[in-house]
Symmetry: C2
Subunit: 603 residues, 2 copies
C-alpha cells in the first residue's frame, strides 16, 4: 500500500486464502454494481480478516475504457447513454493517431513530457533551416532543440516531430506542435544538446546529427532508431460504441477534407458530408503554381483569363473527385480564400537574389526579371495579410477567379449527374462581413449555375452560403441570412478577430505566458472561448434564424473536433460540426455526450 | 437667368427702378423671415412688373455660413440651436486647415479633384523612394504620380502633399491622403507625366523634377511656385458660435495629443482634457531610439533594466510637460501599444545590407553584426503585427516596461503637485480583451503608485482604465468594467477587428472598390459603422454600466472628430469624444447638433 513492496498477482490469493478470496470477489462485484463502473479497490488482510479500505473508479487506457463500457452495456449493468458518457473523448486522440506497435521492443533512451500525441521517426536535426531544407527534399526528420522559438516555425513545419530538452506542456514547441497535430516530446531534461558539436548526450549515450530516433508524443518516450508504427484503426467495441453515439446524438458530424482520399477516409470514420473543402491547397500543386502565378501577376484581364482557362479543367477534376467520393452527402466547397501573395515567392528571398545578382555582376536579364517580380510581389505584400485582401474581397475585386471556380464546381456536378451520382454541392463564400458582399457574389454564382445548366441541359441542385468568421458577420447575421442558404462558423478566424489575436503570432509570442499566468484558461484556438467567441456565435444563431428559421448552421473551425467546443455547438443549436477526418469519431462521441448531458441537465 | 448675360449688381436696380427695388427688398425680407435663412432668389421684371420666380436657401462658404448664422441669431431671426444646426461641421474642415492666403495672386496651372483638404507647397518629386529620401532630409516635397499604389505609401508619408493625374475621390491617393490628413489633389487629367524625362506637361508648360509647386486640396487647384499660406484661425463669429455649442452640448470634447504643444493648441481650440496621449511617439525621437532598441534587444532582464533606467527620466519629462499643459483637466495616457519591431530596422533593408557585405566581401565584423541583428529582428517580426505581440500583451510579458512608464507618470504627477498644479492622470491599458489582463496590469500600476506616494510623501489622485478596441472587450464589458475606472473606445482598431480589415491593406487594396460598387456606404475608418462596430459599442455601454452605472466612457479613435460618428456617440450615451486638436471645434459643434437634433427627434 505504501508502494514499497512489489505487488503480487491477485490470483495467488485464491490459492493461498480461498475463503478470503471468495469474500473479496463478492465485495468487488457488489462495489462494481453499486458504483456501476470498474473499481480500483484497496484492501488489506490482517490476522485472517479482510478489510476493504477504499474504492474508486479505476483508471484505464482509452482502448480499455471503450471495451469496459461496451462490455458493461452487454452485461446489462449500464445503459448505452451511460457507456457513451464513460469514455473521455479527448483520450481517444491516442487511438486515432499513429502509434508505436505495442509488440515492438523499444530502446527507450529518455522520457520527456507527452506534449502532442502521435509517434514519429526521423533523422536528428538541430537547426530549423536544415530541417526545412531536408524536409523539403522529402526526408523524415525530428527537430531537436533545447527550446523552440518563433524563429524555428519553418523547421517545425518541415519536421515529422519535435523534441525539446526544456519547457512544459505550454512551451512554444508544445503549443505549436499541438496546433499542427504533430507529435512532440518536450522538457526532456536528460538531454544535453551541444549545437556546436551537432549532437546530444543522454545518460552517456551520444546521438549525432543524422542518427535515427523515434518519439512518442502520447507517452513522452524517446527511442533510438526507427520503430514499427501502427496506423490508427477502430476496434469492434469502438465501432459499436460509435454506432450507439450516432443513435443518441442530434448534432451532425462532417469532415474537413480537400482531397478525394481524405473524403473517403472521413466517410470510413463516419462523416456525413464535407463541411469544408478548401480550394487553395489545390492551387499549390507544383504543376499548377506557375499558372496560378500567371493569373495573379497578369498585366490585364485578358492574360488573367488565359491562366483561368488553364485552371478550369484542373479544378473541375478536383471537384469531380471530391463530389464523387462524397456522393449522396453534401460537400461545402469554399471559394478561394488566402491572400494572393501566398502563392508567390518570398520577398526576402527575392531581395537576396537581386542583391546577389547586383553585387556579383550577374546576368543582367535575370536581374531585371527578378527586380520586376520583386516589384509585383511587393505590391501584393500586406501589413496584416490575415485582415487584408483575401476571402470574398478577392471575389469582389477579381470576379473572374470566383466565376472560374463556380463553373468548375457546376461542370463537375453535371458530369457526375450524367454518370448517375447524386451530388450536393454547397458553394461557400468566405470572409463575408457585410450582406452586400454576399449579394454580389451570390448573383455571380447563380448566373454561372444557370449558364452551365443551359449549356448542358442538365438541371442540378446547389446552394450558396457563407462562412461566419468576422465579428461583423455575427453582428449583422439577420441581414446576411437573407442572402445565405447556410452559415458555417470559421471559428479559427472568428477567434482571431474577436480576440484580436493573430494565431501564429500569439502562439509563438505570448499565448503560453497567458496560459501559464492563468490569464486565459485554455488556448482559445484549441478550446472554444464561450464568453467571447461563443457569445457571437449564439447571437448569430438567434439573429440568423430570426430571418430564416430553418437556416442550416455548422462549424468548420478546428473547434469542430474538440469535445468541449462540440458540447457548446450542441447547446446553441448548430446542425453539424465539421472536423479533420481523424477527429470524426471523437466528434461523434462528443456530440452524443452533449445530447446525453443536456438531457440529464434538462431533467 | 439662362446664364448667358453677365449679371449686373443689384444696386443698379435701385437707381434705375426705385419702385420695383422697394417691392423687391420687401419681398426679400419677407422670404428670409419666412424661411429663416438667407435666400437665393430668382426674379424677373417684365413690362415694369416684378415677378419672383423661385427662392431657395443660399449656398455659401463655411466662413460665410458661420457669419450668417451668428448674425441671424443677433437679429433675433433664429435661436442659437437653429444657428448651430445651420453650419455643416464637415465644411469647417476648410477653416481649420492651412489654407492659401486669399489675397495671394495665384498662377493656377491646372485643376483636379479636391481630394483632401489643406494646402501645401514643395518640390516636385515623381518617385516614392526619392520622396522618402528627400522628406527624410527635411525637404518639403509634393509627390506627383499618375496614380499611387500601396508601393508608394512611404513616399506619401514623406510628402507635404499628393498630386495625381488619374483617379477619383476614392482613389488610393485620395483615401490614403485623407486618412493621413495630408492635402491631396487627384484626377488632375490635364497633367501629362513623363517619368523617364522626370517632368510633367500641362497646357504646354513643362514642370521639371525639383520645381516648386503648390496644391490646394480644398479647391483642387495646382499652382506654380510657392504661395503664401495662412494658418487656421477662428473668426470672432466662429468663436461665439462655438460658445453657444458648448452651452448646448452634453457630450464632452477632448483632444488626442502626444506633446505639450499639441495639448496647448487643443486647449486653445476648446478641448476639455486629453482623451489619448500615445506614448510610442515619445520613443521614436532620434536620441532615444538607440536606448529603446537596447531595451528591446536586451539579452536579459538586467540589460533591459539598464535601458529602462535611462528612459525613465525622459518619459518623466514627457509626462511632466503634457500634464502641466493640461493642468486642471484629465489626461489619459496610454501605455506602450505598438509591436516592438516598429522600433527596429526594416528586415528587407537588413537582408540587402547583409547580401551586399557578403557579395562584396565587405567588413566581416560588420557582416556578423548585421547578421545577428537580422536574426533578432526576424525573431520579433510577425505575420500580422496588428493582431500580434502589442498592447497589454507587452505589459503582461515585459512588465518592467509598463512599470517604468507608470513610475514616470506618477513621478511627474508628484513634481507638478509640489509646484502647485492640479493634475489628473488617467493610466490607460491598451488592447484588453479579457478582464484578467486588466486585473494583472492594474495591480502593477497601483503598486507603483503606492510606492511613489510612499517614496515622496505626496498623495495624488489617478485612475486606471482601458481601451475597448477588440470585439471580445465589448462582449465581456460587464466583467472588464469591474476592474476599470474608465473605458475609451479605440474605434480604429475596433473597426479593424470587427470587419477583419487591416486599415492599411484595405485602403490600399480593396476599400475604394467597395465604396465604388456601393458594397459599403462609406469608408468605415472615416465614418463609424453603426450596424457592426456601433452595435458592439452600444453593447459595451450597456454591459459596462450594468456593473458600474457611473462608468466614464469616451472614444479616442479618429471617428471622435467625425460629425456623424459624434452624433452616434451622443445617442449611445458616451461621456466624451476625443479627436485631433484641429478637429476639436468640429466636435464641439457636432456634439451640440447631436443634442439639438436629439431633442427635436425626442419631441
Amino acid at each position: 500500500m505504501a508502494g514499497i513492496r512489489t505487488p503480487r498477482p491477485i490470483r495467488t490469493l485464491k490459492d493461498e486464502m480461498p475463503v478470503i478470496y471468495g469474500q473479496f470477489t463478492t465485495a468487488c462485484e457488489l462495489l462494481e454494481k453499486h458504483y456501476r463502473n470498474i473499481q480500483d479497490i484497496e484492501f488489506t488482510i490482517e490476522r485472517g480478516k479482510l478489510y476493504i479500505l477504499q474504492t474508486r473508479t479505476g483508471k484505464r487506457t482509452a482502448q480499455a475504457a471503450v471495451k469496459v463500457a461496451v462490455d458493461m452495456v452487454k452485461e446489462g449493468l449500464i445503459t448505452k447513454e451511460e457507456a457513451i458518457l464513460r469514455v473521455e473523448p479527448a483520450h481517444l486522440d491516442s487511438i486515432l493517431h499513429r502509434r508505436i506497435d505495442p509488440r515492438a521492443k523499444l530502446e527507450v533512451i529518455a522520457k520527456g513530457l507527452p506534449a502532442s500525441p502521435g509517434a514519429a521517426s526521423g533523422k536528428v536535426v538541430f537547426d530549423a533551416e536544415e530541417a526545412e531544407k531536408l524536409g523539403g527534399e522529402g526526408r523524415k526528420i525530428i527537430l531537436v532543440r533545447t527550446e523552440t522559438t518563433p524563429d524555428d516555425i519553418h523547421g517545425i513545419v518541415a519536421a515529422q516531430g519535435i523534441l525539446t530538452s526544456r519547457g512544459g506542456m505550454t512551451s512554444h514547441a508544445a503549443v505549436v506542435a499541438r496546433g499542427m497535430g504533430k507529435p512532440c516530446v518536450c522538457g526532456c531534461e536528460a538531454l544535453r544538446i551541444d549545437y556546436a558539436a551537432a549532437n546530444f548526450t543522454v545518460n552517456g549515450l551520444v546521438v549525432k546529427k543524422g542518427d535515427l530516433i523515434s518519439i512518442d508524443g502520447a507517452t513522452g518516450q524517446v527511442m533510438l532508431g526507427e520503430v514499427p508504427m501502427l496506423d490508427p484503426e477502430l476496434s469492434p467495441e469502438f465501432i459499436e460504441l460509435l454506432q450507439w453515439a450516432d443513435e443518441i446524438r442530434t448534432l451532425g458530424v462532417r469532415a474537413n477534407a480537400d482531397t478525394p482520399a481524405d473524403a473517403l477516409k472521413s466517410r470510413e470514420f463516419g462523416a456525413e458530408g464535407i463541411g469544408l473543402c478548401r480550394t487553395e491547397h489545390m492551387f499549390m500543386a507544383q504543376e499548377r503554381l506557375p499558372i496560378v502565378q500567371q493569373m495573379i501577376l497578369a498585366a490585364g484581364p485578358k492574360e488573367r483569363q488565359e491562366a483561368l482557362d488553364k485552371l478550369l479543367p484542373m479544378q473541375q477534376t478536383d471537384f469531380y473527385g471530391i463530389l464523387k467520393a462524397m456522393a449522396g452527402y453534401p460537400v461545402t466547397i469554399r471559394l478561394l480564400d488566402p491572400p494572393l501573395h501566398e502563392f508567390l515567392p518570398d520577398t526576402e528571398e527575392l531581395v537576396e537574389e537581386v542583391s546577389r545578382l547586383l553585387y556579383t555582376e550577374g546576368d543582367q536579364k535575370e536581374l531585371k526579371k527578378k527586380r520586376d517580380l520583386l516589384k509585383k510581389v511587393r505590391a501584393l505584400t500586406e501589413f496584416n495579410p490575415m485582415l487584408g485582401h483575401r476571402g470574398c474581397r478577392l471575389g469582389i475585386t477579381f470576379p473572374d477567379v470566383y466565376a472560374m471556380q463556380a463553373r468548375a464546381i457546376f461542370q463537375a456536378t453535371v458530369q457526375l449527374i450524367r454518370e448517375g451520382y447524386r451530388v450536393i454541392p454547397e458553394v461557400e463564400i468566405p470572409l463575408v462581413g457585410e450582406v452586400n458582399e454576399l449579394t454580389v457574389l451570390r448573383d455571380l454564382v447563380t448566373e454561372i449555375a444557370t449558364k452551365v445548366s443551359q449549356e448542358t441541359g442538365v438541371e442540378f441542385e446547389y446552394s450558396v452560403g457563407t462562412m461566419i468568421e468576422v465579428p461583423r458577420a455575427a453582428l449583422t447575421a439577420e441581414k446576411i441570412a437573407g442572402e445565405a442558404d447556410f452559415f458555417s462558423f470559421g471559428t479559427n478566424d472568428l477567434t482571431q478577430t474577436t480576440f484580436g489575436f493573430s494565431r501564429d503570432d500569439a502562439e509563438a509570442k505570448f499565448l503560453h505566458a497567458y496560459i501559464d499566468k492563468k490569464i486565459l484558461p485554455d488556448n482559445p484556438f484549441a478550446v472554444l472561448d464561450r464568453s467571447g467567441v461563443g457569445k457571437l456565435m449564439q447571437m448569430t444563431v438567434e439573429l440568423g434564424r430570426q430571418t430564416k428559421p430553418d437556416l442550416v448552421i455548422g462549424i468548420c473551425g478546428e473547434h469542430g473536433g474538440e469535445p468541449s467546443s462540440i458540447e457548446f455547438c450542441h447547446q446553441i443549436g448548430l446542425n453539424y460540426v465539421s472536423c479533420s477526418p481523424y477527429r470524426v469519431p471523437i466528434a461523434r462521441l462528443a456530440a452524443a455526450q452533449a445530447k446525453a448531458n443536456n438531457e440529464k441537465g434538462g431533467k
